[in-house]
């Protein structure tokens, strides 16, 4: 309460008030120039609209002009009011679009029309705000100079502390107006979100498909030939059994050995698809087996207050698994570390190594697959791996309740 009282008392001398006044003046000047320019352009396009094509040409030119003005206003507001404004998505005709297509894209863009509307609405609004400030200030000056009744003095004092509030309200109006009309509309935001979700879904489906293909290839090229060969050894042993028991025994020995490696292969393959200990005991437990098979020493630190849900755990696990595979196969690292923690509803997975870097998320590669999996559950994924190293792989997954 006292804070508010102080801010009202100090209003007339505070930097914020004078910044607001400066901002309003700047907005008024640019607003006046832009308003006139745009109004003329719009009148011309209205006047020419009866000539087929020409009206649209001038309109698209006008809207492009409005977009330039919007970019200027965005910078102005950022510099003077310190507020960031996200510009709405403007038409981006394909690079090979014809002149006519470009023109049409601009003339029909609702976002571009909103930018023009901003210039038409802004000048009256800012002029009215400044008018109100001037009115209050004038009230204050006449109140003090005429110094009549006690009521007049009281009004003058009220005006003294009131005008900064009016000025700040005007400045806030300036920012709000810009945010509303220059920023993405609600439907624009929604359609951007829909597009993002669509892309994430496609990526998720693709990554699931490529994962299935990888599993098929591992089974087909790794395990199946071993089993066929095992059956072949036993088949040969059987045919030789009668006439040459010695060589039959050698074949059986070999088959026995092959059976054991096949079982081992199957185990690591199954673990690669989905380790059951992950479901049963969680991330920390599942990582033990993973790093045990890594020839590079890996430091693991998992700090979680509770278990994330199964999908989040699985994605986190595969971020680590793929990264550790890369550490083993490509990095040339001498040590690596895995740090998993949770803060503010975000699960953060960081894998670092001291290798020679140069890791990239190439399309179709393991890292790109991870990026898709993380994006599918609304997480973010980043790889920093400058040539010469070190490499950081970081995934942040929302895990809030």
């Amino acid at each position: 309460m006292t804070k508010i009282a102080w801010s009202i008392l100090l209003g007339p001398v505070s930097a914020r008030t004078w910044r607001a006044v400066g901002g309003l003046l700047a907005s008024l000047v640019t607003g006046a120039v832009f308003f006139c320019g745009l109004a003329v352009a719009l009148l011309v396009s209205a006047a020419l609209c009866w000539i087929v094509g020409l009206g649209m040409l001038v309109l698209s030119f006008t809207l492009r002009l409005a977009a330039r003005m919007a970019r200027f206003d965005r910078r102005r507001i950022q510099r003077l009011a310190g507020a960031r404004i996200e510009l709405a998505a403007l038409p981006e005709p394909a690079p090979d679009a014809s002149f006519r297509q470009r023109r049409r894209a601009w003339a029909r863009s609702p976002a571009a029309r909103r930018l023009a509307a901003y210039q038409l609405v802004r000048l009256p609004a800012i002029a009215a705000s400044l008018g109100a400030v001037v009115l209050v200030v004038t009230g204050m000056i006449t109140g003090f100079t005429s110094a009549g009744s006690a009521g007049q003095v009281l009004l003058a004092v009220a005006c003294l502390f009131g005008w900064p509030l009016v000025a700040r309200l005007g400045a806030a109006l300036d920012v709000t107006l810009a945010r509303t009309l220059l920023g993405p509309s609600r439907s624009g935001q929604l359609s951007a979100e829909v597009q993002r979700l669509g892309e994430a879904r496609t990526l998720a489906v693709e990554s699931a498909e490529s994962e299935r293909r990888r599993i098929e290839r591992d089974l087909h090229d790794g395990l199946q030939p071993k089993l066929v060969s095992l059956a072949l050894e036993l088949g040969l042993a059987r045919t030789r059994f009668e006439r040459d028991p010695g060589s039959a025994k050698a074949l059986i020995d070999q088959a026995h050995q092959e059976a054991k490696t096949a079982i081992e292969d199957l185990r690591s393959l199954v673990r690669g698809i989905h380790p059951s200990v992950l479901d049963e005991r969680g991330l920390d437990a599942a990582l033990s087996a993973l790093i045990a098979n890594c020839p590079v020493p890996v430091h693991v630190e998992v700090t979680l207050s509770r278990r994330p849900d199964q999908t989040q755990e699985a994605v986190a696990y595969f971020v680590v698994a793929e990264s550790i595979t890369n550490v083993t196969k490509h990095s040339g690292a001498t040590r690596a570390s895995v740090i998993i923690n949770e803060a503010a509803g975000l699960l953060r997975i960081l894998v670092e190594d001291d290798g020679h870097g140069g890791a990239r998320a190439d399309p179709g590669g393991g890292l790109a697959g991870l990026a898709a999996r993380v994006a599918a559950i609304d997480g973010t994924f980043a790889v920093r791996s400058p040539p010469g190293g070190p490499t950081y792989v970081e995934a942040v997954i929302p895990c809030g309740p």
Binding site: P225, A231, L232, G235
Partner: protein, 215 residues
């Protein structure tokens, strides 16, 4: 007899080499890739090529395409195509041209040594060996379901074995009946399906059956 083996698994190449050696078939070259297969066949002109369908670089159907290429360029080389999976469509592609000496079997069949060697011999001698699984798919996909329905159960069994490429005596042995009984059934099948009368060249009768099932 001389053979070339193409399979990207060294383990299997060695295994099959040993298997063929069991029956005095000499393996003159073992390769792991479709391109080198063509070179090996050109260099050695073997009697037989044993080819895995899926091979590097693409791990798709490189082996099958190499087989078709070999048939086009060196028609005298018998082809035994092996695969982890058999597909009726691949068989049809293989049999599309000249069908002398063509085999298409599941890889697992190598485990039954005697039967596998028998199939190798049959193919090398100009016969046909189609995996029972392929024949099953052909029968299931056949659009000629009406006439097939006119066959008796035994006749269908004989038709399947015939499509696999077996001779009358082999069919008789497998069904434990006399060769004469098989001959009678074969004649009856050919009549019911309106196929040209049985040919002495048995690869041609396989072809007739397969074409029929496929049409």
């Amino acid at each position: 007899m001389r053979a070339v083996i193409a399979d990207d698994s060294v383990l299997l190449r060695e295994g099959i080499t040993r298997l063929l050696a069991e029956d005095d078939i000499e393996v003159v070259a073992g390769v792991g890739e479709a391109g080198s297969l063509l070179n090996a066949v050109e260099a050695h002109q073997p009697d037989l090529a044993v080819i895995d369908v899926r091979m590097p670089p693409g791990h798709r159907d490189e082996g099958l395409r190499a087989a078709i290429e070999i048939r086009r360029r060196w028609p005298a080389v018998a082809l035994l195509v092996l695969s982890q999976f058999v597909e009726e469509r691949y068989a049809t592609e293989l049999l599309a041209g000249e069908t002398r000496g063509i085999g298409y079997l599941l890889k697992d069949r190598v485990a039954d040594v005697a039967e596998f060697i028998e199939a190798v011999r049959r193919v090398a001698a100009g016969g046909t060996a189609l995996d029972p699984e392929v024949v099953r798919q052909l029968l299931a996909r056949s659009r000629q379901s009406d006439p097939l329905g006119r066959l008796t159960g035994r006749e269908r069994e004989v038709l399947a074995l015939m499509a696999e490429g077996r001779s009358n005596s082999a069919i008789a042995e497998s069904l434990v009946v006399s060769t004469g009984a098989v001959e009678k059934r074969v004649a009856s099948i050919f009549m019911k399906l309106d196929l040209p009368p049985d040919d002495e060249q048995h690869h041609r009768r396989v072809l007739a059956v397969v074409r029929y099932l496929n049409s």
